[in-house]
């Protein structure tokens, strides 16, 4: 019927972005509390940041509080994609006010890297940063790990439309009929995992502040640290293995690990993605350990195994914590780790990358292709978790992998033209798209501050599309999105 409804419901967009920013302003109370607790001079800076964020939020929310209309698919995608940018902008403003950096590009990069749980940092020396800034960096990662949108669903904001845009992927992610109930279960589970990790770190000998920070950045597979040497600062195998455990746990689909409880445990263990993931993780750790032991036969066996396992898990889960410089490892392992970085963990986890489910589906499908050659008339469906996967799903997976590889290549080429050497360029492209945070080549020390601004902005974009599994953001750049 010839109504001239605008393509996008701007009232709803303003209202929802505003409400989400209120959530961010509320989160900033945590660094404020830390600033007060450690008697910093930054108390007033955080008050300013909260006022700015909450003020903007109020300006967006109040005019549209009563009438803001219905959610559509377009609004869902737009809000989910842009909320990360909005959050990063206001977090960047806070970092600038606190004087953590004096350049907006750096502040935005740091924030985007935080929220997307990438963990790449432009801070030349994190140890001189005030505690309030440190806790904010860690908290951004914790928030971004399970997702801002999923948290907003807990508070009854939005619904199905934003859930679809946020949780893409080839497998189903709902545990309860209601989106809100699912979001509550997921966040509850995430909080429990966080508390357990905290106790492990505290038992391992970290002080409370460092333990909280590293818990936030490990359980979210983020990778920020309060120390320049990252987790390598602590020479404690207990902490390193606790971190390994926590990283692996967070790479399991949260809707699967939720059922790690008596009675349902055996059923949860049957999840095919988790099994293939653990298999891949174990093989990777073994490969790295064996190669390193062969390379440095003189070193302590246990230390080598710990370092190899830690670094390979940190790379594949996209955490980016570091206890060793893997650029000193045999060159063959660089490539192994680079490919591992692209893989990521399970779908529905806090990790980035292509995700194991897509890789195993494609591997299985390729194998079935040979059987189809042998029996041209046979009907050989692809099964995953003993369910038949439709051709449409496989097409979607193939498109995803193609776009992922395509963007990685394209970004690497652009980075090379912007002056990076090709090895660094490929490393930067993968580390940002797969939300890893580890450097590569000459950037392996995590010294991202040397990068030109243009590269930083492109990396911010890559981190964003990587976090939202490509399609949600790239959809906004298609003509179809802006046409009726």
């Amino acid at each position: 019927m010839g109504q001239s409804k605008p393509l996008l419901n701007y009232k709803l967009l303003c209202y929802s972005i505003g409400s989400l920013l209120l959530l961010e302003a509320a989160c900033m109370l945590i660094p404020l509390a830390v600033a007060i607790g450690s008697a910093e001079t930054h108390v007033i800076d955080w008050v300013d940041s909260i006022v700015i964020t909450a003020g903007t939020a109020a300006l967006l929310v109040l005019p549209f509080r009563k009438r803001h209309g219905e959610w559509g698919k377009r609004e869902g995608y737009l809000v989910v994609a842009s909320v990360w940018i909005w959050f990063s902008v206001f977090s960047a403003i806070a970092l600038l006010i606190c004087g953590a950096t004096d350049n907006f590009t750096d502040a935005f990069f740091e924030s985007m890297s935080g929220f997307t749980t990438t963990g790449a940092s432009i801070m030349p020396d994190v140890e001189i940063l005030p505690n309030s800034v440190l806790i904010w960096r860690s908290f951004m990662q914790w928030l971004g790990g399970m997702g801002i949108i999923v948290l907003s669903l807990v508070f009854g904001f939005g619904g199905m439309q934003i859930y679809i845009a946020e949780v893409s992927g080839p497998t189903k992610g709902k545990m309860s009929p209601r989106v809100r109930q699912t979001a509550i279960m997921l966040w509850g589970h995430y909080v429990v995992a966080t508390v357990i990790t905290f106790f492990m770190f505290a038992i391992g000998g970290m002080d409370i502040f460092d333990a909280v920070n590293h818990t936030f950045t490990t359980i979210s597979t983020g990778g920020f640290s309060t120390k320049n040497d990252s987790l390598g600062y602590w020479n404690s195998p207990f902490i390193h293995w606790a971190a390994i455990g926590s990283m692996i746990f967070s790479s399991i689909n949260y809707t699967v690990s939720y059922f790690f409880m008596p009675g349902k445990f055996r059923h949860a263990l049957k999840d095919e993605e988790m099994r293939s993931m653990l298999f891949i993780f174990a093989s990777l750790a073994v490969i790295c350990s064996v190669a390193n032991i062969a390379n440095n036969p003189g070193d302590s066996l246990f230390t080598t195994i710990t370092n190899s396992t830690f670094m390979s898990i940190s790379a594949i889960t996209g955490t980016g914590h570091s206890i060793d410089n893997f650029m000193l490892w045999p060159a063959g392992l660089w490539l192994v780790l680079l490919i591992a970085m692209c893989m990521g963990g399970s779908s529905g986890s806090t990790t980035g990358g292509i995700k194991i489910v897509r890789i195993t589906m494609l591997v299985k499908n390729s194998y079935l292709e040979f059987r189809r050659l042998l029996h041209p008339r046979a009907i050989i469906p692809l099964k995953y978790n003993s369910k038949v996967i439709t051709t449409e799903t496989i097409n979607g997976v193939m498109a995803f992998v193609f776009i992922f590889i395509g963007i990685t290549g394209l970004a690497a080429i652009i980075f090379s033209f912007l002056g990076l050497n090709p090895k660094d360029a490929i490393g930067m492209s993968v580390t940002s798209l797969a939300n890893i945070g580890l450097g590569f080549g000459s950037l392996a020390e995590g010294n991202f501050y040397v990068l030109p601004d243009s590269v930083k902005w492109i990396m911010c974009f890559l981190m964003l599309i990587g976090r939202l599994e490509l399609f949600t953001v790239l959809f906004l750049f298609t003509g179809a999105f802006w046409k009726r």
């Binding site: 619904g159 199905m160 679809i164 709902k174 309860s176 009929p177 209601r178 989106v179 109930q181 439709t390």
Partner: protein, 448 residues
């Protein structure tokens, strides 16, 4: 409330969409994965692809702590099997859709409730009953009785010349004889206040008592037409049910263009079945359309039903009834002035509604009105509930909920006003917008 719907056909899909909007947790089980994916995209519910009679699927759907299990697949035996499985797996209330009137008989009910099936729905029979009511009182659009006729709800289209036109409701005399509870105007539902007026072409819902039905009819300017001869188009299941209900005073001709269908129906009913196409004007002429009092279009095609009714109106038939299964056509059909619209989904859904209400609230029945976005509930006021605590005007009821009338335990009904005090044991007729149906429970729930 946790609800499982087995079968995502027309009724199942409509129910699921409606119930999700009311904040229930819905899980749908069906074998059509494509359709389920679409449902899941548009609604906040969970779907499970597979057979609803598979124990594994039922367990995956969480049947053990389900409050209501609704089996509405197209197959009767599958529905019953699914309900039996659900009973044994722990579901609390079970409702199955059937297409066999036998099961609805009273002695069968006992037998089935012993097996764990609380109720059956037979949408075709419910639809036929509604049509029958409409034929009996051809001047109404909808007729509902509460408390064995103590209170009556009448929906009518008000045309030019009616005494109540263009008067403010507060100026109408005899306000204790009837009350206007809802008005449908230009696709919008109005819950009227004293300052509103009835305009020509409105569909108006009155609540009244038995004695004043004729008074209300005259106020709305309606004449009584006795239906004697009618044409039914299409040999559907509703047709079969309807023909079985027709009294001796009514003669029906069933027109069905499919020979096999016509043949099959003629064996089961006593009315005349003609193998011809009712959408063809010549055929209508042949069957003496001008002499008919009513035209009932029940074919499986919504479009044909609407068009055939228009054609019948052109031939001067006053009462037209059409089955409109395509929901988006209902407003269109109303604008085209088709007398009575039947929609199996709405009928089935409103029947199932009553099971979704709080268990502490005793409900006699729930009904959604065809033309307006309003539900009517007949509830029993129990001792120590909010509703009995004060006269209505002090109750602070939400704006879109109001009390239409009260039926005393002795069977006498009267129209409620602000000063009415509801007492324990009264049956209360409540009107509310569909979205706020769940808010009612709070007023009727007993304070432990």
């Amino acid at each position: 409330m946790k609800i499982i719907i087995a079968g995502a056909g027309e009724v199942g899909t409509h129910l699921a969409e409606m119930l999700t909007r009311q904040d229930h947790s819905i899980t749908v089980i069906d074998e059509d994965g494509e359709h389920l994916r679409k449902m899941e995209q548009d609604n906040d519910l969970l779907t499970i692809e597979g057979s609803p009679t598979s124990i594994k699927n039922l367990k995956d759907a969480g049947v053990e702590d389900t409050d209501l299990f609704i089996a509405v697949t197209p197959h009767e035996s599958q529905n019953i099997t699914a309900c039996l499985l659900a009973t044994n797996l722990g579901a609390k209330k079970k409702v199955a859709r059937v297409d066999n009137g036998e099961y609805l008989e009273e002695n069968c009910q006992k037998f089935f409730s012993k097996m764990g099936i609380d109720a059956f729905i037979y949408p075709e029979k419910l639809a036929a009953e509604e049509i029958m009511t409409s034929l009996n009182r051809s001047w109404v659009r909808q007729w509902l009785e509460f408390g064995d006729g103590a209170l009556i709800l009448i929906g009518m289209k008000v045309r030019g010349g009616a005494p109540i036109l263009n008067k403010r409701l507060q100026d109408l005399t005899n306000s204790d004889h009837y009350r206007i509870v809802a008005i449908r105007r230009d696709l919008q539902t109005i819950v009227p206040r004293g300052s509103d007026e009835v305009l020509e072409g409105d569909i108006v819902y009155f609540i009244t008592t038995h004695n004043f039905v004729d008074h209300v009819r005259k106020e709305a300017g309606k004449e009584v037409i006795q239906v004697r001869d009618l044409i039914i188009m299409g040999a559907s299941k509703i047709t079969e049910q309807l023909c079985g209900m027709l009294p001796k005073s009514m003669q029906a001709k069933v027109l069905e263009k499919d020979k096999v269908q016509a043949d099959k129906l003629s064996r089961n009913i006593n009315q005349l079945v003609v193998n011809s196409d009712a959408t063809d004007p010549n055929m209508l002429q042949e069957e003496d359309i001008e002499d008919m009092d009513a035209f009932v279009a029940m074919s499986s095609k919504t479009e044909s039903n609407i068009l055939a009714c228009l054609e019948a109106k052109r031939h001067g038939i006053k009462k037209t009834i059409a089955e409109v299964e395509n929901m988006s056509y209902i407003p269109l059909a109303e604008q085209l002035d088709i007398g009575y619209i039947v929609n199996k989904k709405l009928i089935a859904a409103s029947y199932i509604y009553q099971y979704t209400l709080d268990a502490n609230v005793s409900v006699n029945r729930v009904k959604c009105l065809t033309h307006v976005d309003v539900e009517v509930l007949e509830l029993i006021a129990k001792v120590d509930t909010k509703i009995t605590s004060a006269p209505i005007y002090q109750l602070d009821l939400p704006k879109d909920i109001f009390i239409g009338g009260v039926i005393k335990p002795n069977g006498v009904g009267f129209i409620a006003n602000g000063k009415t005090l509801i007492e324990a044991g009264d049956r209360v007729v409540v009107f509310c917008r569909s979205a706020s149906i769940k808010n009612i429970s709070a007023h009727f729930r007993q304070r432990n």
